[in-house]
Assembly symmetry: C2
Homo-oligomer: 412 residues x 2
């Protein structure tokens, strides 16, 4: 028996903790360069500890010291620069209609955004082949090779077993669930491959570079044909005890007493709230409320064969069309009822609306706020996503970057 420091918590562990803290601060710094003073402030460590950590990081080739060109007097001070070009990550958004890939360096600078439309009728294996090819194209377009990728994260709709890297259920992409997506991509790319639910990644992006930077309790609502949410609670992603938290789409509110339209019939796999305010339900409501000569022009537009696009509805409302405004008010009232349940139970600091419906912006958000008033007890802010269709791929980049932290700090 010795009296030396315990194996798990010796001085070398402390030194490693400091190195990790400095590296993390440096990666988060603007442009991934920082002065010694900035790092002392952002890490809370002493100047000598930061200096020593920077020396360790330089020895490991992770950091270089560059002249600070903003120095006005005397010889230039030095800035530490994280060598973000040492590695790269890919974020992949696999959706029913498109595949969107972003390649970033280790500081999160996006080098390439590559988008391909998924042909109608594409099945799971077709989609996998498209993802595989598109990844190669995006890597090449970034002047990189597979060996430069340190991690890849795939976002997908449906229910995901993150631990086993499996898509368990994905009704919107037939034949996608159950494919060995993660092991096959790992074989192709020879790097860690992660997979997560698309909305769980979108909420990371909103907090990183979207409309909710630094917000500690945050809900991202993906609003299109389906309705899903991603949750951040006290700064950490929350997925629930059975990975089923945030299932707003399955809320059953009954019908509001003052809402005369019947509830749409149940569809396989959709929830009651999706059937009440999803894009298809909005289209159906708009067709019903413009019929009977109440708005022939808008009605004709909404009932064009083979076209269930509802953007015309929002354009008309924004231009002052009262029937369109009445439809949107009804939709907003329904949505506010479900959203008020979420706000009453979770009390988030902010709710960000993403997905196709978020493109309507204030035309839709203003009446929702109006209908929320009196239904909630706290002042949760409601905003539209500013990331558009980039949110999932960008969140996948963020998640992949987090996964590279270990590789960076186990070597020095």
């Amino acid at each position: 028996m010795t009296t030396s420091a315990p194996a798990a918590t010796g001085p070398h562990v402390l030194r490693q903790i400091n190195v990790t803290a400095v590296l993390t601060a440096l990666r988060q710094a603007d442009g991934a360069t920082a002065r010694l003073t900035d790092l002392v402030t952002s890490t809370g460590l002493s100047r000598p500890a930061v200096t020593r950590a920077l020396a360790d990081l330089r020895d490991a080739d992770l950091v270089e010291l560059v002249a600070d060109e903003t120095t006005r007097i005397g010889r230039p001070a030095q800035r530490a620069r994280f060598r973000a070009e040492l590695g790269h990550v890919a974020g992949v958004d696999v959706g029913p209609h498109k595949i969107l890939i972003k390649i970033a360096d280790l500081a999160g600078k996006i080098l390439t955004t590559h988008r391909i439309a998924t042909p109608p009728g594409a099945t799971g294996p077709d989609v996998f082949d498209l993802v595989s090819t598109a990844l190669d194209q995006a890597v090449t377009a970034s002047d990189l090779t597979h060996a430069d990728l340190w991690a890849v994260c795939v976002g997908t709709p449906g229910i995901v077993d993150r631990d086993h890297g499996e898509v368990l259920l994905a009704p919107s992409i037939p034949g996608w669930a159950g494919l060995p997506v993660v092991p096959q991509l790992r074989d192709q790319l020879h790097c860690p491959v992660l997979i997560d639910n698309d909305v769980n990644l979108a909420v990371l992006a909103e907090r990183w570079r979207g409309t909710a930077i630094g917000v500690e309790s945050l809900v991202f609502v993906q609003w299109g044909e389906r309705i899903g949410t991603g949750l951040i609670i006290d700064g950490a992603p929350y997925r629930g005890a059975h990975a089923a938290a945030g299932e707003l789409g399955f809320l059953d509110l009954g019908l509001p007493p003052n809402d005369p339209t019947g509830r749409p019939a149940a569809n396989e796999g959709t929830g009651p709230f999706e059937r009440l305010v999803g894009a298809a339900a909005i289209h159906e409501l708009a067709v019903a409320m413009t019929a009977g000569g109440r708005d022939p022009g808008l009605h004709a537009q909404l009932t064009r064969p083979g076209d269930r696009d509802i953007t015309g509805l929002f354009t008309a409302a924004a231009a002052g069309n009262p029937t369109a405004a009445a439809v949107i008010d009804r939709v907003a009232a329904r949505f506010a009822q479900g959203l008020s349940a979420l706000i009453l139970l979770l009390d988030p600091e902010q709710v960000v609306i993403g997905g196709g419906l978020s493109l309507a912006g204030e035309t839709l958000l203003e009446p929702i706020r109006r209908h929320l008033a009196g239904r909630t007890l706290s002042a949760t802010s409601l905003r539209a996503s500013s990331l558009g269709e980039d949110a999932v791929a960008l969140g996948a980049v963020r998640h992949a970057l987090d996964a590279t932290a270990d590789r960076l700090t186990t070597s020095p």
Copy 2:
């Protein structure tokens, strides 16, 4: 500039971290005694580190070494015993009908439980005087003096500003909100005084010594006249961005389409879901459904002047009365609709029902589980509280004990 270890993270900090870890493990140990081997296992520290931490703790008089009487062979091994008698805490439950105080030692052993009924019509200042006197009585009954109290925690209904120790709103105790409860008790007792919402404390008790020991994601639903919830998410209390999370009582579900009874009129300060399934609403529903000769006996019992007790309803249902069972089924259907929203959004591992309605036990829980089926996507377990009216005071003890941790570990 020196090259010594930084001030914030030197070896003495490590040593302090180990002391804290050992002390925490020892306080959580059964009977607050443990063998060296147990502490090595529970802390993950090395044997020498635990030995050294125990020596530090003995030097600070926080721990003593006692012979282990379970040793079968050779000389007795030693057990470390946390000197839980060094200090004490009080947990105080201030409700509209009673004040319940528990005094515990530093290992959480309850020495005294003191309960006094609040006289009808008592106002806030009356209640404060009762709390003040009852605390003195409980301390005396425990053979202690004020100086033995290291911390006191008060649980109260309503909305609490924990940081400023103020009750902002408490409709159930007239004149209670706004009183300087915390500063006055601090002056009286000369120790830290904490205050929190009653359900936020009850959920701590359920996780500590109730029906949800160690559960990481947990909802406690207080179900009586009012409906409130306390949330634990990923092991930590969650109160929301504006201290307004878990407001199940304010959910507005509209009326279930198959539920013919009208919604009770709005009361000042109550929420729609409380008005639908709170104790008063259940009484009203039971009176309506037993009227018109459908169950004269139960109807007479429910409409006795000055008595709105509904325990007879549950007794009758448990004895096979079909009308009583039909009332409870209707209540369960309504409650399940609200609870399903909570489960869909939060996906907790377990929901514990407390408050007056929980006394109905399986007579109420079984039909709720039946109505939940098909409304939720995950297998959340639903149980009645086993702590009865002790939950809030016990949770207050737990919270006060947590507040003593600093005092214990800053000295050695």
